[in-house]
């Protein structure tokens, strides 16, 4: 499905440009995006190197185990496949915590590390049940304090920049709950197909 989306985005774009005289813009976009992708990877590299280093210390010091022990009843239910003392749970939780506080650039490294730990558990190139659940939670966003949005609202003179916080939290809770339910639905559907 990703293959199809990828080909379609580029394919439709090129055909559309051919008929609408925007081929020049397409050319420019291709080359400026290459630079942009390298720049993003580079700045991500800095964030990754720093946070993975710090999280390794947290792991060795037993802080991650502490974090997963605190939330074990909830997380165990969401990720039944992961053994209860596995470091994967600690990284999943730190990713979720960072997301909640709007620390996007700390959340990504922890999320990636969590994925790596889950891959170690599954040992295949196929997305495991836990990985899909984890992605579902991440794509639905867990933001409790939308810092970027509040900053933009301030900049354009809102009388109450934080008025949308409650709306954001309610919408986030609904979308995350929905993500978990949809994820479960697809999981049970896969199981039924496999058992047939």
């Amino acid at each position: 499905m990703v293959n199809l989306i990828w080909v379609l985005l580029a394919g439709i774009g090129i055909v559309y440009a051919a008929f609408n005289g925007t081929m020049k813009e397409v050319n420019q976009a291709i080359f400026s995006t290459l630079d942009e992708a390298v720049m993003i990877t580079l700045s991500l590299a800095g964030v990754l190197v720093f946070w993975l280093g710090l999280m390794k210390i947290a792991e060795e010091a037993g802080l991650l185990r502490g974090l997963s022990a605190m939330f074990r009843p909830v997380v165990q239910r969401i990720f039944p496949e992961i053994p209860k003392d596995d470091p994967a749970l600690g990284y999943i939780l730190s990713n979720m915590t960072a997301n909640m506080f709007g620390l996007g650039n700390a959340a990504t490294p922890m999320g990636l590390k969590a994925m790596k730990e889950m891959k170690r558990l599954s040992g295949t190139e196929e997305a495991s049940r836990s990985m899909i659940t984890f992605l579902a939670i991440n794509t639905s966003s867990l933001t409790l304090i939308p810092t970027t949005v509040i900053a933009i609202r301030m900049k354009y003179g809102s009388v109450d920049p934080t008025s949308i916080v409650s709306a954001t939290i309610i919408a986030t809770v609904i979308s995350t709950t929905a993500a978990l339910l949809i994820d479960r639905f697809f999981y049970y559907r896969r199981m039924r197909v496999m058992n047939r």
Binding site: V2, T33, L48, K116, I132, T143, I164
Partner: protein, 171 residues
């Protein structure tokens, strides 16, 4: 602002606990960080590939054309049609969505219903395509199973939830 205390606070706690527990903090830091370089490098092809494809789609004008077709559909539900492009772009491109949100807030004012809608949508969903590309790419997952379907459906629910919640709270 609490947010400026958050990260230094986390760093301080981690380092203090590690020292108390006699973990060789600096050595462990370096050991853990090395993995970051490896992840970043393996990420580039996935990120670059997806970004180029999206850039072509956007720069050609095809995206705007498709959004134009969908716009009138929103007014059927009593939702301002200006918000639709954001709803569609949000799962595909984070930077495009952020600039759209900024533009909507600038044009209609942060406290207008469109401004509130844009703010809530921006905060309550995330860039599904980016997350899937980056997270699966970094660890070399080839078969993604139902991940994309689950993510996009969750986005749809999130967008609808944002609209409904904003209408209940602000009108």
């Amino acid at each position: 602002m609490i947010s400026i205390w958050l990260i230094p606070g986390v760093i301080f706690i981690v380092l203090t606990v590690a020292t108390v527990k006699r973990v060789p903090a600096y050595e462990v830091f370096v050991e853990g960080s090395k993995e970051g370089i490896q992840i970043a490098v393996s990420l580039l092809p996935f990120l670059l590939g997806m970004m180029v494809s999206i850039a072509i789609f956007q720069a050609s004008g095809a995206m705007d054309a498709i959004l134009k077709v969908f716009e009138p559909m929103m007014s059927v539900f009593g939702v301002p049609e200006e918000i639709l492009p954001l709803a569609i772009v949000r799962p595909i491109s984070g930077t495009a969505a952020l600039s759209m949100t900024t533009e909507l807030i600038r044009t209609f004012g942060p406290d207008s219903i469109i401004g509130q809608l844009a703010s809530t949508m921006q905060g309550s969903t995330d860039t599904t395509l980016y997350i899937i590309t980056v997270y699966f790419g970094a660890v070399g997952i080839k078969r993604m199973g139902d991940a994309l379907k689950v993510g996009l459906l969750a986005d749809l629910v999130g967008i609808i939830a944002a609209i409904v919640v904003v209408f209940i709270l602000f009108t």
